[in-house]
């Protein structure tokens, strides 16, 4: 891993679960941000979508997604903060989705582009992989990021999320 890749903060969901995970007071001293997460939620199904709110809001967002599940490939788009897929509670036991979200130039004064890839871990006939390109049409610097399970569900124990900062110089 490059020397310019710095872990800013990390967290793990406890036994009571969590409705969402929010990183606040993100310093503006890096070039880019990366979230790496391992996520599973309480939905009674193998997979669930999740969103990422920016600076406390899910508005001013658009996205385009490419999804594969082992047999079918689909594309879709929307005007929400949807950012990927995570394990639901009927996915293979003790597995968690692998997630990476990349946010370049997060402290700049242009609209913010975001790319995300997420792979649902599920040792069954279907397992989803999503690639998402998202846009936040706001020029403010990003100071908080919140991961939110879709459809009102909660994160399961042992879900983790780590926020990294990337500098383009050592």
């Amino acid at each position: 891993m490059a020397l310019t890749y710095v872990a800013i903060a990390t967290t793990t969901v406890g036994s009571g679960g969590a409705a969402n995970i929010e990183f606040t007071s993100i310093p503006g001293t890096y070039t880019d941000l990366v979230i790496k997460a391992s996520l599973r939620d309480t939905r009674n199904g193998p997979a669930n979508d999740f969103s990422m709110e920016i600076n406390g809001a899910a508005t001013n967002r658009t996205y385009k997604a490419l999804k594969g599940d082992g047999s079918t490939v689909t594309t879709f788009s929307g005007s929400t903060a949807t950012i990927g897929v995570e394990d639901g509670d009927t996915a293979t036991a003790s597995t968690f989705a692998n997630v990476e979200i990349y946010i370049p130039n997060y402290a700049g004064s242009n609209n913010k582009s975001i790319s995300a890839d997420s792979a649902q871990e599920n040792n069954q006939s279907a397992a989803e992989v999503w690639m998402v390109a998202s846009l936040w049409s706001q020029t403010a610097a990003i100071t908080s990021l919140k991961l939110v399970p879709g459809n009102g569900f909660s994160y399961k124990q042992y879900s983790t999320a780590t926020l990294y900062g990337i500098k383009n110089t050592v």
Partner: protein, 72 residues
């Protein structure tokens, strides 16, 4: 009371915080919308399965074998 995890990047400290009334209302609205959507999807899937079974029964009555029906 549902809680969320707030990670303060200036300190690295994670705090478990109870949701606000607004956040709870949003979660409940999301859950209700999901339940409604799920019920509609389940009903549509059941209708499709019933239609498929009816069609297969009619094809079998016309003399098609199971393999021939599956090949359609």
């Amino acid at each position: 009371m549902p809680t969320k995890l707030v990670v303060d990047c200036s300190t690295g400290v994670t705090t478990e915080v109870e949701l606000t009334a607004e956040e709870i209302a949003q979660r409940e609205a999301d859950a209700a919308a999901y339940a409604e959507q799920k019920a509609a999807e389940d009903a549509a899937a059941a209708a499709r399965a019933e239609a498929k079974a009816n069609a297969e029964a009619k094809l079998a009555a016309l003399g098609l074998t199971a393999d021939e029906i599956a090949a359609l």
